[in-house]
Amino acid sequence: MNPQQLDPVSVTVIVLTGVIAIDPQLANVLGPYAVIFFGAMLGGLWALSKRPPHPTSPRAEGLVFLAVSVGMAVLLTVAVVMLLGRMFSIEPENSGWMLAPVSLAIARLGPTYFDGLLQRFAQRIERTAEGEGSK
């Protein structure tokens, strides 16, 4: 092995970029997720800056909120983009540009919005069940 590659700086750079440097095909898979992650980070930070800071530990609580927002966006973005592609008849190969704005929008809405949405959904199911029960 070339001894020049063993200095700490080169090793750190190789570790940071390791996965992508080893397998360029993996980079093609990770590329869209990097875009989704970037959009979700911005959306999550936007949502974070709209809510009142936690009185005792704003940074730790903010990190949890950010992790939930970004995780939610990473999980939902591809499905939402596919759905939008079908609705507006966009070919899957041409729908890549929608990844960043959709992930930004999902993370901006944040877990609070989806909590409210789930609660309304549960209430509607309850009302439907009550209506069927009274018949």
Binding site: W46, S49, P53
Partner: protein, 99 residues
């Protein structure tokens, strides 16, 4: 760009990103929106400028352009605040009057 320069650039951009996070976490709806946009622009620029040289060393110009663009947008958003001289919160607070 050498490996050391790439690493130093990455660490500096991480620092900018963390500083922006620390400010955004204490901002709420009572703060002027342009302050929020300033830090979001800086965070976006720092993220791109930090990661692009690591992942795509051939596109360093784009990374630097993103950071300088973000800083320019941030300065533009501060124009209104500085139009009538230094903002009140930048001035030193006079001490309490002694009885």
């Amino acid at each position: 760009m050498s490996a050391l320069a790439i690493l130093v650039n990455f660490l500096a951009c991480c620092g900018i990103g963390w500083a922006c996070y620390c400010r955004l976490v204490v901002i709420d709806d009572t703060i002027q929106p342009r302050v929020r946009w300033q830090f979001l622009a800086k965070f976006a620029g720092a993220t791109v400028a930090g990661w692009v040289p690591l992942l795509w060393p051939q596109h360093i110009e784009w990374a630097i352009l993103c950071l300088s663009g973000a800083l320019f947008v941030s300065m533009l958003l501060g124009v209104a605040r500085w139009r009538r001289g230094p903002p009140r919160d930048t001035k030193t607070i006079p001490g309490d009057l002694q009885p």
